[in-house]
């Protein structure tokens, strides 16, 4: 698969002499769907449900973009990518947008030729161990064997953390999160490390979640967000403001339940601008003025998506924490829609 995507880059770079700067929005409209890169399966973020339909927090972002562009959240095709394949898939044009709990870093933004459109989940790297080991802190992990997924910032943070604390470790590196979990459960390694959200997601699908403990240390900043290719600013704007509209909608208490009512009756000019009853924000993006209304009506605001996929009551049971609105103790802060 990796080789296939490499060939895709090579051939794309070789033969598509003019396509590099073509407008993604036009391409997407012409083919009638958005090709969205997601994980190969991470409960809560992107995983097929029992009917084979993709669901999750990242999937909701793809659906929101589809709603903004087409007025219909179903016009998305999903490309499952491993951590290693995701960037070549986006570089080569195989996918239009990557919503795959990807950490925003300098080198990815600058050197790899991508544009991160924002942060949809503030995360940090943590460790999970079996309770039976009796480990209470990550500082007790000297000499442990650590299972980790390849091609991630996780690998780099892990090396930094152990070096900084003068500890040694053996890493065992796998391509997909499922292989890592399998090796961890089979006791091939002592520790499973990835973003804490990923640890909670993996723990939720383990047969006996109570036997595993996520250690308190958070060893890195992992702002996760969707990204697009560098160079197509219009498409980047659409992705950025799709995310911002979802966050803003939660702040303004606009949800899928009350959006119809608010659209007809609200006196709040901010909500009117967002829902397209005044101004032409949608047209400025190259979409219809109903774009944000369609997102909220079909997918819901940020809080609804979070509660449905990750929040308390779901198997993952993650508290909002940093991911609460700025006025509720978190750091979510969307620029104004005006």
């Amino acid at each position: 698969m990796k080789k296939a995507s490499f060939i895709a880059v090579a051939t794309a770079a070789t033969f598509m002499a003019t396509a590099a700067t073509a407008a993604t929005l036009d391409d997407v409209k012409a083919k009638g769907f958005i090709q969205c890169g997601v994980t190969t399966g991470l409960a809560g973020f992107a995983a097929p449900n029992n009917d084979g339909k993709w669901e999750g927090f990242d999937v909701d972002f793809c659906r929101a973009m589809s709603a903004a562009v087409f007025g219909d959240p179903e016009k998305v095709k999903y490309t499952p990518t491993t951590a290693k394949e995701r960037f070549t898939a986006l570089q080569s044009g195989e996918i239009d947008v990557l919503a795959r709990n990807t950490t925003w870093t300098f080198s990815r933004d600058v050197n790899l030729g991508f544009e991160f459109v924002g942060v949809n989940y503030y995360d940090g790297q943590g460790f999970m161990v079996k309770k039976s080991l009796g480990v209470k802190s990550a500082l007790e992990l000297d000499g442990a064997r650590v299972c980790v997924q390849s091609g991630t910032t996780t690998e780099l943070n892990l090396a930094d953390y152990f070096t900084a604390n003068g500890m040694k470790y053996d890493s065992v590196v796998f391509d997909t999160a499922d292989e890592v979990r399998e090796a961890y459960l089979k006791d091939t390694c002592d520790v499973y490390t990835t973003d804490q959200s990923g640890l909670y997601a993996q723990r939720s699908v383990i047969a006996d979640p109570e036997a595993h403990i996520v250690l308190p240390e958070v060893i890195s900043k992992e702002p996760l967000g969707p990204l697009v290719r560098h160079g197509d600013n219009q498409w980047g704007d659409i992705a950025r403001w799709t995310l911002n509209a979802m966050i803003e909608a939660e702040e303004l208490n606009v949800s899928s339940a009350n959006v119809d009512d608010l659209k007809a009756n609200t006196k709040n000019p901010g909500i009117q601008r967002m829902l397209g009853t005044s101004g032409d924000l949608g047209q400025q993006l190259g979409l219809t003025n109903e774009w944000a209304y369609n997102i909220i009506k079909n997918v819901g605001n940020y809080g609804e998506s979070f509660a449905r996929n990750l929040g308390e009551g779901t198997a993952l049971n993650i508290a909002r924490g940093l991911n609460a609105q700025w006025n509720k103790g978190g750091i979510l802060y969307a620029p104004p829609l005006r």
Partner: protein, 396 residues
Amino acid sequence: MTTDVQGSTSSDSMLRDPKVRAIFYQILVIVLFILFVAYVGHNTAVNLEKRGIASGFNFLSQPAGFGIGIVLLMDYDSQTSTHLDVLIIGIINTLAVSVSGIFLATIIGFIFGVLRLSKNWIVNKIAAVYIEVIRNIPLLVQLMFWYFAVLSVLPLVKDSIHIGDNFLINNRGVSFPAIIPSSGFWLITVALLVAIVLCFVISKWAHKRQDLTGQTFPVFWASVGLIIFLPVIASLIMGNPFEINYPEYGRFSITGGWSLEPEFLALLLGLAIYTGAFIAEIVRSGINAVSHGQTEAAHSLGLSPGKTTRLVVLPQALRVIVPPLTSQYLNLVKNSSLATAIGYADITAIFAGTSLNQTGQAIECIMITMLFYLSISLLISMFMNWYNKRIALVER
């Protein structure tokens, strides 16, 4: 007028001369090919630049920043070692598993190839079942089987199986005492080298003596003796210049000693057993290709069955075996890239995998990796061709 005619015929013949035309077409093909390569290369470079993707090989001197599970023969530090070091470690790891895999697969293949010809019904059928089952299951599935099904159901570290006092088997691999050289160890190394050289000398001498007098000499046992006793004597002279580091139970795993990681073991077993089945069939066909008359003739000269196989049948069978054996060796080296599925740190996993992903230099990383596999395969081919020539039938 005559000159005119001559002129026209000479230019005519230039056009129709098969040699000239052949050269013309060769040049045409070369020019077209060079143009194509130049076009592809230029276009790739232009488009990479247009998309803002950095290119070039500077990334090789950047620090790697990630940890590697299995590091042999060199020091690796995630903060200071570079992507070039990652490449070298990947190459070493690939070679380590390939060389030991080729060695093991050859042994397995020859044993089962001979067993497959056994007149004993049960032995024959066991070999047949092994060959047919293993050859018909994809290698990737077999690797998964070894790693996730066999090795991981071995006991946990704290319940390790002990063989003797210091040989431990558990789901983290196999641990055994390590020999740590101290000053004076050089004499043992020298003794070992001298022993190996002596073996060659003895073998030459024994051949000559047999040619002259017809007497044989137990070259094999003499060699074994030399290789064991010379280093032992050297060690005694220097007063055992090494320490033995025994494996011990640590907080999480076994510490101390030397150990073979489960990833390495699974890959080695998978590759050797898979390729061994193919080699077994090659060996069987090679032996079958030697006419039965040769065996009968050897028997009637009074050679023992062992000597018949060793001196008459195998040398002739090898001529048939070696060329297809070469391609099995090549397959084994290339198949070792499946390591990435079970977490072994080979060149494909850490260089064309992690390094590629951390630097984003897909084209460079894949090119280097392809070049490495190509060079190794060509080297193996060259060696096997040389060996094939050496054992080929010399016609007089």
